[in-house]
Symmetry: C3
Subunit: 673 residues, 3 copies
C-alpha cells in the first residue's frame, strides 16, 4: 500500500472503537471468505400490505432456495401518528423471516427530507435517535442478520449546509501540509474531492458507531452504486475496518451507461472486480441486482431476461462473490417504481427470472462446499485506475465534448476496454484503484499492470510503479496516462518523473480525429486509435511504431521488467468499434505469464467471457456467450489434463470430446477435477 497518507481523516476514532477485527465474533455465514454463497431478494415493505402478503413473499424466497433478504426500514413507515414508533408492519416481516429461515439485513432509512447526509447537527441527532430505536427493536429477532447503515452510500458533491460545512472545516484543520507541490506551479485545488473521499468513509463509520452502541455483533454491509462513477468519491478499501462484508448495487438500467446491453455481463464482472478489490480480505456480494422490469425508472430501461439473470449470478460467483440479493422480490405498489423491478408477478407467482435464480441457487447448494472454498484464479494482470484521473476529467470537462475521448468517463472506459478484451481471451484481470495496489513485494515477475488513459498518475504512485517494473513487472501504458500529476499539473516536459521507467518522454500530443491507426512493427500489428496521437522522444526505449520520423510506441527494459508505451487511445478506439481482436493480439504477445493461466480460450472469442475459480483440487470455469451464435471452443492450459463435469448450462450447451458447445446467451459452469 502506497497510500499511507490518504486515510488520515478516518483514523480519528478507529482505535477507540476497536472496530477492526470484529468480524470473527459472528456466528452466521457470509462473514468469511470460506462461507458458501447465498442468494436473496429484497422484500419491499410499505404500509397497506397485509401480514399474509408478507408471509407469502418470505415463503416464495424459501421456495426459490433463497436464504437472505434486505429490508428498507423506512422511518416514515415506522412512525405512529404522535411521533411514537409502530413496528407492527416490519415485525411481520421479521417474524415471517424466522418462520422460513431467512436472514434479514435491515437497511436503515431515516427521514432526512431527501438528503443523503444530514443537513444540520440537529438532524444528525434525529438520525441517531432513529438508529437507536430501530436497532434496539429489530435485533431481538433471530432473523436479524445485521445492518446496512445507509442505502447506496457516497455523496458526489458537498452540499453547502451546516453538517457538511462543519465536517469540511474540521477536515481542513486536520490536513497536514501536502508534501508535494508540483514544483511550485500554481495548480488546481482538489481539496473538495479529497474531502468527499474521506467524508464518505467518515460518515459511514459514524453511522456504524451508532449501530454498534446497540448491536455490537450484527453484520454490517454497504452497497455503493454506480460504481464506475462513484469510485471518484468512495475509497472502498478504507471502509473495510468497520464492515463485515462489502456489496454494491449493480442495476443495468441505472448504472451501466458505459455499456451496451450485450455487454451487461462483462459490466457485472467489472463492477464485481471493483468491489472485490475494495473488499480486500472481507467477503463481498452484490447487494442489489436488477430483478425486473422498468416502466418510468432507469436511464436505460429494460426487463432482464431469465438468461441475463443466470449470467449475472454466475459472473458474480465467478469473480469470487458470495452471492447476490435482487432488487426486488415484490413490486412496490405506491410511489416511485410502483409496479416495477420485481421477481414475482402480480399474482405473487415466480417469474421466469425468479425460477432461473432459484435454479442457480440450487446448483450452488448442491455443491456447497465446492463453492464455499472457491477463489478466483489470479492471472497476475491488474488494470489500475486513479481517482485523480476522474477528478481532473471533472474539473476540465470541456464546454463542448465533440469526441468520446474527452468526455467524462474516458479513463474508466479505456480501462474497461482492456477488461473486456481480456474477458474475450478467457483471462481474469483485477480492476482496482492504484492506491489499493501493493507495490512492496519482492518480485513482480509474471505480473502485468495496465494503465490505460489514466490521465493522472499521482506523485505518490511514481516510486511504486518504478519498483514494480524494476522488480520484473510488465507495464502496459496507453493514452494520455500520466499526463498530469494529482494537481492537474502537466508533468510532460522537463522533469518527467517516469522518464527512466518509460525509457523516454512525451514529445507531442496531437488531435488526429475520431479514428486513426498506430501500426506496430515486427511483427506488424495495426491498432485502431482514437482522438489523440502522442509521439515519444525515446531515451533508452526501443521504438516499436512510428509516424514519419516520430516514435508513436516504445518498449523499454528497466531493471528486471519492461514497459510498453503507446500514448494514443488504442483501447478506447477498440471499444468504440466493439472489436477487441487487435487488442487481444497485443495482449497475447505482451502479457507476462499469460500462458501460465490454467484456463484460457485457445483463440479470442468475440462476445464471450470466462471466469476461473479454484476450489481445493478442482477448477471451476464460468463461461458466458454473448455473441449472436452458438460457439464451439476448446480451452488451453489445464483443460486437456483434467476431467470436466458440467455443473450448469441453461440453454442446452454441453461438453463433447474436449470441446465446449455453448449457445448464444447461455451461461455454463464446468468443474475440472
Amino acid at each position: 500500500m502506497i497510500s499511507g497518507t490518504r486515510f488520515r481523516f478516518s483514523k480519528l476514532k478507529l482505535g477507540v472503537l476497536g472496530l477492526v477485527g470484529l468480524g470473527p465474533v459472528f456466528l452466521w455465514a457470509q462473514t468469511s471468505s470460506t462461507d458458501a454463497p447465498w442468494f436473496g431478494a429484497e422484500v419491499y415493505i410499505e404500509p397497506g400490505q397485509r401480514a399474509a402478503d408478507i408471509d407469502t413473499w418470505f415463503r416464495r424466497l424459501k421456495e426459490a432456495n433463497m436464504e437472505v433478504t434486505r429490508i428498507r426500514l423506512t422511518e416514515q413507515y415506522l412512525r405512529a401518528p404522535a411521533g411514537a414508533w409502530d413496528f407492527t408492519l416490519f415485525d411481520a416481516a421479521y417474524r415471517s423471516a424466522e418462520k422460513y429461515g431467512i436472514k434479514i439485513y435491515g437497511n436503515l432509512s431515516p427521514s432526512t427530507g431527501g438528503s443523503e447526509v444530514p443537513r444540520t447537527e440537529a438532524q444528525w441527532q434525529d438520525i441517531a435517535d432513529y438508529v437507536k430505536a430501530v436497532v434496539t427493536h429489530f435485533r431481538q429477532f433471530k432473523s436479524c442478520y445485521g445492518w446496512v447503515p445507509v442505502n447506496e452510500p457516497g455523496i458526489s458533491r458537498s452540499p453547502d449546509e451546516e453538517f457538511t460545512r462543519n465536517a469540511f472545516r474540521k477536515w481542513s484543520e486536520e490536513q497536514p501540509p501536502l508534501g508535494y507541490h508540483s514544483h511550485g506551479y500554481a495548480t488546481f485545488n482538489f481539496a473538495e474531492d479529497r474531502f468527499l473521499l474521506d467524508f464518505n468513509g467518515w460518515y459511514l463509520r459514524k453511522l456504524v458507531n451508532e449501530i454498534r452502541k446497540y448491536d455490537p455483533s450484527g453484520a454490517i454491509h454497504v452497497n455503493p452504486d454506480a460504481i464506475f462513477q462513484k469510485i471518484a468519491v468512495c475509497d472502498l478499501r478504507s471502509w473495510t475496518p468497520f464492515l463485515t462484508s462489502l456489496g454494491g448495487s449493480a442495476h443495468a438500467s441505472w448504472h451501466f451507461g458505459y455499456f451496451e446491453r450485450a455487454q451487461y455481463a462483462v459490466a457485472v464482472a467489472a463492477n464485481c472486480e471493483i468491489i472485490r478489490s475494495g473488499a480486500g480480505r472481507l467477503p463481498w456480494m452484490i447487494t442489489e441486482l436488477q430483478g425486473g422490469n422498468n416502466i418510468f425508472s432507469g436511464t436505460a430501461p429494460m426487463c432482464p431476461t431469465a438468461e441475463e439473470i443466470s449470467q449475472w449470478l454466475w459472473v458474480t460467483l465467478g469473480t469470487g462473490g458470495k452471492g447476490a440479493i435482487f432488487w426486488c422480490l415484490n413490486p412496490r405498489r405506491a410511489g416511485y417504481e410502483s409496479g416495477e423491478w420485481a421477481l414475482l408477478n402480480f399474482q405473487n407467482e415466480p417469474s421466469d427470472r425468479l425460477r432461473m435464480a432459484a435454479r442457480v441457487a440450487q446448483t450452488v447448494k448442491r455443491d456447497a462446499a465446492l463453492w464455499a472454498n472457491a477463489v478466483p484464479v489470479e492471472s497476475g494482470i491488474s488494470i489500475l485506475y486513479t481517482r485523480e484521473s476522474l477528478w481532473i476529467e471533472g474539473k476540465l470537462t470541456p464546454p463542448s465534448i465533440g469526441f468520446e475521448g474527452r468526455a467524462p468517463g474516458a479513463g474508466i472506459k479505456s480501462a474497461l476496454a482492456y477488461f473486456e478484451a481480456l474477458g474475450e481471451m478467457g483471462l481474469q484481470a483485477r480492476l482496482q484503484a492504484i492506491d489499493d495496489t501493493d507495490f512492496g513485494q519482492a518480485s513482480y515477475a509474471g505480473r502485468t499492470i495496465i494503465l490505460s488513459h489514466q490521465i493522472s498518475l499521482p506523485s505518490r504512485s511514481w516510486k511504486g510503479l518504478e519498483a514494480f517494473v524494476a522488480k520484473g513487472g510488465k507495464l502496459i501504458v496507453d493514452g494520455l496516462t500520466g499526463f498530469y500529476d494529482e494537481n492537474g499539473f502537466c508533468v510532460m516536459g522537463d522533469g518527467f518523473p517516469l522518464e527512466k521507467v518509460f525509457g523516454g518522454s512525451l514529445k507531442e500530443v496531437q488531435l488526429i480525429g475520431n479514428q486513426f491507426d498506430v501500426a506496430l512493427l515486427e511483427p506488424p500489428l495495426t491498432l485502431p486509435a482514437h482522438l489523440w496521437r502522442g509521439t515519444i522522444q525515446p531515451t533508452t526505449a526501443a521504438t516499436i511504431a512510428t509516424t514519419g520520423a516520430n516514435a508513436t510506441a516504445v518498449r523499454n527494459h528497466f531493471g528486471k521488467g519492461e514497459v510498453i508505451w503507446i500514448p494514443s487511445l488504442v483501447r478506447l478506439a477498440c471499444r468504440i468499434k466493439r472489436d477487441y481482436r487487435p487488442l487481444a493480439e497485443l495482449l497475447t504477445r505482451e502479457i507476462n505469464g499469460a500462458s501460465d493461466t490454467p484456463f484460457r480460450f485457445a483463440a479470442i472469442q468475440p462476445g464471450m467471457l470466462m471466469k476461473t475459480l479454484q476450489s481445493g483440487a478442482s477448477y471451476l470455469t464460468v463461461l458466458i456467450n454473448k455473441g449472436p451464435e452458438k460457439a464451439t471452443l476448446s480451452l488451453k492450459g489445464e483443460a486437456a489434463a483434467r476431467t470436466p463435469t458440467l455443473l450448469f448450462a441453461d440453454l442446452g450447451g454441453g461438453l463433447t470430446s474436449g470441446n465446449i458447445s455453448i449457445g448464444p446467451e447461455e451461461a455454463m459452469v464446468i468443474q475440472w477435477k
Copy 2:
C-alpha cells in the same frame, strides 16, 4: 357524470350569480347550436396605426365574407400618459366594425407584467378596475358582441405568489376528505394538480363576474390553447355555466408538436373534438386559427397553404364547429410576431389564404340554413383520456426517456392514434375526458369506448366502466391502461378492481424494445407494438393472443358487453410507424355498430379523413385527402341510396357514377339528399 366531487371549488359563488342559463337572453348569433357558422380574423390594433388603415382592415373582413373579429384590448395601448384612459385608437376599430357590420369580441388584456394571473391581491384590484373601464366603454358600440375574459386561459404551474398562495390555502381548507385512499398505501399527492384544475376555472369565473357587473348580457367566450397538454389543467366542461360559447387556439406552428405536417388536418379535428366535448351543449368554434407565416415565432414554423386553410375550416365545420377566427388579419408591426401570421399581405391585399377562407365562407353562406342545423353524426365511439394519466406522466417523467412510450404525452398520443385510424376509416369518434362521459344510461348497446394507454383510471371511474360494459358497451383497452389509480398507486396485483370486467388481471409487464408484434389468433392479425408487453392471467376471459405460455390479449364477455384487452402499446406503435392498417382491421372487427354508420370508407384510406354531419334530411360529408396522390373511392352505407351534390372542392375533385375523386391536399364537401 361520475365526477361529482371534482368541482367543489367552483360551486362557491355559482348560485349567487346565477350564471347558468344566461345564454338564452342573447339576441345575436353564435349562442345556440342552431346558429349558422361564421368566420373572422383578428384585427390587431397597436399604436402607430392610422384610422384609415383600421378601416381598410374591416373592409377587407367584409369583402372576405367575414362577420366577426376579436380585438386584444391591450391596457398599455389604452392608457394616456398620466394614467388616464385614451380609447381613441380602439374606438376607431369598433366604429369601423359598425360600418361594415362586423361583430367584435373584446379580448381583455390588462397589464400584469407578463403574469398570466395576478401576483397579488392588489394587482387583482387593478385588473378589476381595468375590466370596469374597458367593458363600460366598449359595450356602448353596436359592434360589441361580447368578451374574451383572458387570452388562452389555464396556468400549468401554480406560482409561489400572494394571489395563488391565498387561493391555494382557501382551496385546501375547503377540500373535503378524500373518500378513497389506495387501501392505505403511502401514495403521491396530486393536490397541486387538482388545485390547478379548479383554480383555472375559478379564476375565469372571477373575471366573468367582473364583466357581468357592467355587461350582463354580452357574449363570453374563451380560447384555451395547446389543448393536448392543457387538458391536464383545464376542466372545460366545468367552465360552461358562465360562458356563452367555447373556443380554442389551434395553431399548427405552436400547438401540434405531436403531429407531422401531413397530420395537421386530423390534429385540427382532434383539437375540435376536445373542445366540442368540453362545450357540452354550448356552441363552439376555433378562436385562433393560424392565418399566416412564421418568422421567429412558433416551435414548428410554417406558412399555411391556401389548401390547408380550406382543410382546417372544413374540418372544424365537419366536427360541428360554428366557425373560426384567424390569427390574424393584419400583421403586427412592432414587438414579437411583427410582420408574421397575417392573412393580408403588406399591401393590405388578400393573400391566397384569405381568398380561400372567403370562398369557404361564401360556400357556407350560400346554404346558411343547411349549415346552421348541421350536427355531427355520432358513431357511438368514444376515445377517453384521463387527466390523472397526464399528472402521473408528469410526476414520473424519467431521468432519460429513451423510448417515446415513456415520454410525457404518451397517453394522449396513444389516444390520438385511434382517432387518426378511425379518421382513415371515415368514422367519427368522440375524444373526451372520462369525467365528461355519461355512465348513467340504461343501455350501451352499439357503443364503444377506447382506453388507449391511459395509465391511470381514477377510482371514481371504475363503477362507470363496469356499468358501461354490463349494459352492452364494448371496451377496447390497450397499453398500460389502468395500471395506476388516481394516486399513482399500482392497482395491478391483488385486488385489481376491474378484474371482473376485464376477465383477468395483469401478470407481468416487460420492456421488450422499440418494436415487437402482438399476433392475434383466429383470424390472425399481427399488430405492431411498442416498448412494453403485458401478459394476462385470465379468469373468465378467453385468450386471443399469446407469447409462449402467456396470454398477451384477451376477450371477456361481461354482462351484456365485452372487453378486448391488449396490454401492449399497439396504438402508439402504429402511430410511430404511420401505418394504421392493422389497427383499422382490428377496429373494423371489433367496434360496436361500425357498420351502422351512415357514411364510411369502403376500405381504409391512408392519409384520408372524413367527417359526417346531418342537417334535416340531408347528410353532409367533409373529405380531406392528405395522401400523396389523387384518390378515387366510394362510400359505404347511405351513399348508394342518396343523391350527392358537390358543395365544395378546391382542387378539381368531383363525383362520377358513385365514385368520389379527390386530389392530394383537396378538401371536398358533399351534400347527400
Copy 3:
C-alpha cells in the same frame, strides 16, 4: 460615416487626453501601415518556471525568425506573500527578450476574481493600482514594446453589479432623445445593447487612460475574440483613437463554430476583414492564432497542421495584416490548457508547426520592403452587416429553432456565404459594419454593396444606401434584409422607406422549407434558397424571377445605380449545401467592375481562396487550395501581362507556362512584376 450619433459616450474625455494622433511619436515598427509584418508567439509565464527555461523560449523565438511576443502579466503571479510585488519571474522574460531582440506586448491581467470588468468602484481602484505598478515597472525594459490593456475585450451581457450599474445610469442620463421612433409604434428597447457597445469602448479607453499616466508613448493593442459574435457588442472603429494597432484572437477551435475545418482558411480571411475594417487607418495583426493541440480546451478541438499554419499566416498577410502572434510558444503546465496549444514540443524543440511559421517569417523577411508596402487590392465590393440584425436575432430567438435560417447567426452566416463565394472566384471583398461604411463620396461607379439577410437596416442607414445607389453603386440584396428597423419594427408594408431605391416593396414572406429554388429568368439561373420565400410588389423594378403570378426577384434602376433584390435566403442555402457555383455565376453577372480586378480566377474554383496585394509596381497573390485535389488553373486580368515569381509554396506547387499548379492544402505566394 453615417453613424455620427452612435459614439456619444466615448467622446466625453477624448479631447482632454488628446489620444488621437499619439501614433506618430513611436519609434518602433508596427505602428504605421508601411511597417513590415512581424511574427511571434506568446511566451506563457507562470511560477515554477526557471529563468533558464524562459531564456530558451526567447531563443526559440529568435531562431524562428520571430520578433514579437505577448506576455500575460497575471497579477497573482506578480504578488509576493504580504501584498508586495515580486517582479522576478517576469523580469527574467523581459531580460531574455532584450537579449534576443524580441519586443513584448505586456498583457494586463489584474486579479478580478474571474470578472471581465470590475464589479465595484473599489475593484476599479485595485485595477488602477495594478496598472500603475506594472506599467511603471516594465516600461523600463528596452524590450517593452507596449501594452494590451485587457485580454479579449468586450462583455456580451451587462452584469447587475455596482460598476456596470453606475456606468449604465450615467450612460442613460447622457443619452439624447432618439430622433426616430418607428412612427410611434410600441417597439422593443435595445438600450442594453446600445449601452454595451458604448461601454466596451469606454471601459477600454478608461484602462488606456491609466496606462498613459505612466507610459505616454508605448504601443496600445487589443485583441477582440469570437469576432463573428462580438461584433454585436464591439464597435472596433470607435476604439481606434486610443489604440496604436488593432488585433484579434482567431482560434479555430474556439471561434470558428460557423465553419467546417476545410473552411478555416476563409474563416481567418473573414476574421481579418472585420478587424481590417475596424482598424480603419491603423495597422492590425492577429494577436492570437492557434499554435497547437487541444486536449480539454476548445469547442471544436483540433491540432493545426503545419499546412494550416502556413495558410492562416498567408491569408492574414494577404488581407493586409502586419503579422501574427501565436497562442502560444510553450505549453502552460498548470491550470486550464496545461500541456496544450504550444508550438514547442515537450523538449522545447520546434514542432513542424513552428518550423513552418519560421519559414513563412523567413520568406517575408527576405523581401521585407515588398511586404512592408503591400496593400490589399480593393475590388469595390463590400459585404455589410448591421449590429441591429444581431440584436434582433438575439431578442427574437425562437423557442425551438428548427431551421438554420432562424438560428442566431443567420445574418452573419449569410454574409459569410458571399465572402466565401467571392473567395472561390478569386475576388477580394470588404466585410464590415454598415456604420463603418462611407456613404458620402461623390460617385459609387464600379462599387458593389451586398446586404445578405441583414434583417435590420437601421433608419440612419436608409439615406446612405439611397445615395450609394443614386450615385452609381450596385446593391445586391437578399433574404429578409431590411425587414425591421433598429427597433424591431417591421418596415415592410405601408411606408417602406427603401421602396424607391428597391423599386417595389415586399408583398409576402412565406416559409417554404429547408430547400427550394428561385429561378432567375433570361438568362436562366437556378439559385437554391432556404426557409423563407419573399414575393415583391414591383413599382419601378423589373421582375427577374417569379413564382406563379408573383415576383420573387427584381432589378431596379435608380439614379445612376441599380439594385438586385431577391428576398429569399439564397446565400445561406448555398452555404448549407457547400456549393457556391450558382452564387458565383450570379455574382459574375452582377458585380460592378468585377472584370476590372487585376487578378481573379478564370472560373470558380471550389475550395480555393485568393487574396491580392499591390506593393509598388508589383502585385502579390496568395492562393490557398482547400479542395481535395491538386488544381491547375490560370488567372484572368494582369497575369498574362506580367512575369510571375514564386515566393512561397509549401507542397511542391509551381508555375509553368502561365498555369499555376497547387496541391491540396498548399499555400502559394506569387509576385507579379
